[in-house]
């Protein structure tokens, strides 16, 4: 059994990327779009497009009734949520089921338990994964937080249980700071996620952010497709992701894969997902969180393994078995993704949208570009500022870095008011610390403060 028609409940590059695989599978696509995306590429690309609301996401891409109605009107059998928006909303997944629509993702139950970052921590500990010393579940009060802080030792990191993607996270170096941090994060979480729960962990100052790609089918088979290193980030926002993770011993690499599969099996994970780890200088790995969605950086794994992750998401959601075993997964060469954002690093990364008078993505050997834009488009100010993902592959990491720089140099983005992160990305790739693969998650922020922002005018 497969699907004849899929509705894509997302926008921009990921909506286009999902539609591309659907076309290759012979599946009809339905796009939903807000007024701001009336002329967007993904809207034009789909076989059908439904206008579901005004620019604000809460009235369009986050509106459950609008999306469900669009699916029912168009006779879509399944909904692909992409990333962000409704992709990790267990209630939405339930409502899909209630309306006889297949949600392309894990079961609502699994989404719920991995969505609670505090709870999943304990679950993974059960499954034998190493977790950092911290609170059991969420922390009800500042006083309780201080008690735990004293117990596990400072610095501690306070995280929103409903957070993720680096939002709702703050570090407290001592008891005094913890009080304020607790107040801020709970308030932020209540406002952002409608849930003020936070939990505590010991903070690891120097570590790499390494995540493992997972695929599970309804027959209980779970395989991992290797790791991605996302240590090049600014204020917890990923700028560059790569695979394999540089400077990871085969032994640690193997262990991460085993952890990921064990953890996923423990919660009965199906579909595509990611398990995040922190890896210290000595290779000591601790579990961070599970992301129950396709990731922005999934193409890195696709270029390394040749597996089309969206295709597998769809096949698994249709009840099919995974077409390969763990042993059959091949990892070849090195892949690097650079996120090109319409932001002005010279102005504190303020979003700098505008009309793309010139938009000429790079080409040639080993280059893949995923973008929701084309020359002449206007970047709507209503949504995130990522305008393209540039992904390169090469036989070795060194060649991949050279190729990424070559491709970034080729990438022509011009227009009144438009500034991009391309110059910054090139500068970062050129840093000896990155070339040596010795950078940790703090690298970019340190680098930026040393350099000063002024140099980054596009």
């Amino acid at each position: 059994m497969s699907f004849a028609r899929i509705l894509i409940a997302n926008r921009g590059e990921i909506a286009l990327r999902v539609a591309r695989t659907c076309r290759e599978m012979g599946i009809e696509t339905v796009a939903v779009y807000s007024t701001a995306d009336r002329d967007a590429r993904f809207t034009a690309y789909a076989d059908r497009a439904v206008h579901i609301g005004p620019p604000p996401a809460r009235r369009s891409y986050l509106s459950v009734p609008a999306v469900i109605e669009a699916a029912l009107q168009t006779g879509a059998e399944a909904i692909h949520p992409g990333y962000g928006f409704l992709s990790e909303d267990a209630d939405f997944a339930r409502i899909c089921a209630d309306n006889g629509i297949t949600f392309i993702g894990p079961t609502p139950e699994v989404m719920e338990c991995v969505g609670d970052k505090a709870r999943v921590r304990s679950l993974m500990a059960e499954a034998g994964l190493p977790v950092l010393p911290g609170s059991e579940g969420s922390v009800p009060s500042a006083a309780e937080a201080e008690r735990i802080g004293a117990e596990i030792g400072y610095p501690v990191i306070v995280k929103a249980a409903a957070g993720g993607g680096g939002r709702g996270i703050e570090v407290a170096r001592d008891r005094a700071e913890l009080r304020d941090v607790y107040r801020r994060t709970t308030a932020f979480a209540r406002q952002m996620f409608g849930n003020g729960d936070v939990y505590l962990e010991r903070f690891v100052p120097v570590a790499r952010h390494v995540e493992v790609q997972l695929l599970g089918d309804s027959a209980g088979t779970v395989v991992h497709l290797g790791e991605r290193d996302c240590s090049l980030q600014r204020r917890n926002q990923k700028l560059v992701e790569e695979a394999p993770s540089p400077g990871l011993s085969e032994e640690v690499r193997g262990r991460l894969g085993e952890y990921a599969v064990a953890g996923a099996r423990h919660v009965g994970y199906t579909g595509a997902g990611t398990m995040e780890f922190l890896v210290g200088p000595g290779g000591e790995a601790t579990f961070m969180e599970i992301n129950a969605r396709i990731q922005v950086e999934h193409p890195v794994t696709e270029m390394l393994t040749g597996v089309d992750l969206v295709r597998e998401q769809i096949r698994v959601a249709a009840g099919e078995r995974l077409p390969f075993t763990q042993e059959q997964v091949r990892f070849t060469g090195a892949a690097i993704e650079c996120r090109v954002n319409a932001e002005d690093p010279a102005a504190g990364f303020r979003p700098a949208p505008g009309r793309l008078a010139v938009f000429r993505p790079p080409g040639g050997p080993g280059v893949r570009v995923d973008s929701g834009f084309t020359q002449g488009d206007a970047i709507p100010p209503d949504y995130d500022s990522m305008i393209a993902k540039l992904v390169v592959w090469a036989p070795t990491r060194q060649e991949a870095v050279a190729r990424a720089d070559r491709a970034l140099a080729e990438f022509a983005v011009e227009g009144p008011g438009v500034a991009t992160t391309i110059p910054l990305l090139r500068e970062l790739l050129a840093q000896p610390r990155f070339a040596a693969g010795e950078h940790s998650t703090g690298f970019v922020d340190t680098f930026m403060s040393e350099q000063g922002h002024i140099r980054w005018s596009a």
Binding site: T35, A36, D37, R38, D39, A40, R41, A44, Y45, V50, H51, I52, G53, P54, P55, P56, R59, S60, S63, V64, P65, A66, I68, E69, A70, Q73, I95, N99, R350, P351, A352, P353, G354, R355, D377, A378, I379, P380, P381, D382, S385, P416, G417
Partner: protein
């Protein structure tokens, strides 16, 4: 090639940042906006300028964007011939577009009936002309309606959402059929407004 390429001005206009735009639609902060008079004059100047440009510049124009201090204006033509420009002050466009039915409806509709008022669907769903099967329709052509009067219902996920007329006037046409699926912004009923 497969990609549909129907050009419509509305989204282009929203994409245009004000000179000091943060990227998000600029809220009306009284501190920043110039006094009413100047703004009005400036906007008129820009509007006239569009006319002049189209006349003087060679070849078919696709888009024109003007800025004078606080006032920014952009025109993008749906088709590459200088048609009657559909002017739109930019900074505010994105913000209150949803509140302006005639704008969120398909452009040709909006153009054709510049004097009329189109009541559009506030959400995706199924349109009903009456409160229940067999009941008389809320409105019929020729009926007079007051502002705020219900002209129909859009059902979304079992929820009945009454749709109200934005202005008082006379019902010219009930465009959407009973039980018909409608998209956001789709024209349901067209009125001839009293002040028209």
């Amino acid at each position: 090639m497969d990609e549909r390429t129907a050009g419509r001005p509305a989204p282009k206009a929203t994409g245009r940042p004000a000179p000091d735009a943060t990227g998000r639609p600029a809220p009306d902060t009284p501190g920043r906006s110039a006094p009413e008079e100047d703004a009005h004059a400036a906007m008129r100047l820009l509007r006239e300028e569009v006319g002049n440009l189209v006349k003087t510049v060679p070849g078919p124009v696709a888009a024109i964007s003007l800025r004078l201090g606080e006032c920014a204006l952009e025109v993008t033509w749906a088709f590459p011939q200088p048609a009657a420009p559909d002017l739109r002050p930019v900074a505010v466009a994105a913000a209150d577009q949803a509140a302006r039915p005639a704008e969120t409806g398909p452009l040709d509709e909006a153009r054709e009936h510049s004097s009329s008022h189109a009541v559009t669907a506030p959400l995706v769903g199924t349109f009903y002309v009456a409160a229940e099967p067999g009941a008389p329709p809320f409105v019929q052509p020729g009926d007079r309606v007051d502002a705020g009067q219900t002209i129909g219902i859009v059902e979304a996920m079992k929820l009945m959402n009454p749709v109200a007329a934005g202005h008082a006037g006379e019902v010219v046409e009930v465009v959407a059929g009973n039980g018909e699926p409608v998209e956001y912004g789709q024209v349901l009923v067209r009125l001839r407004t009293d002040d028209a």
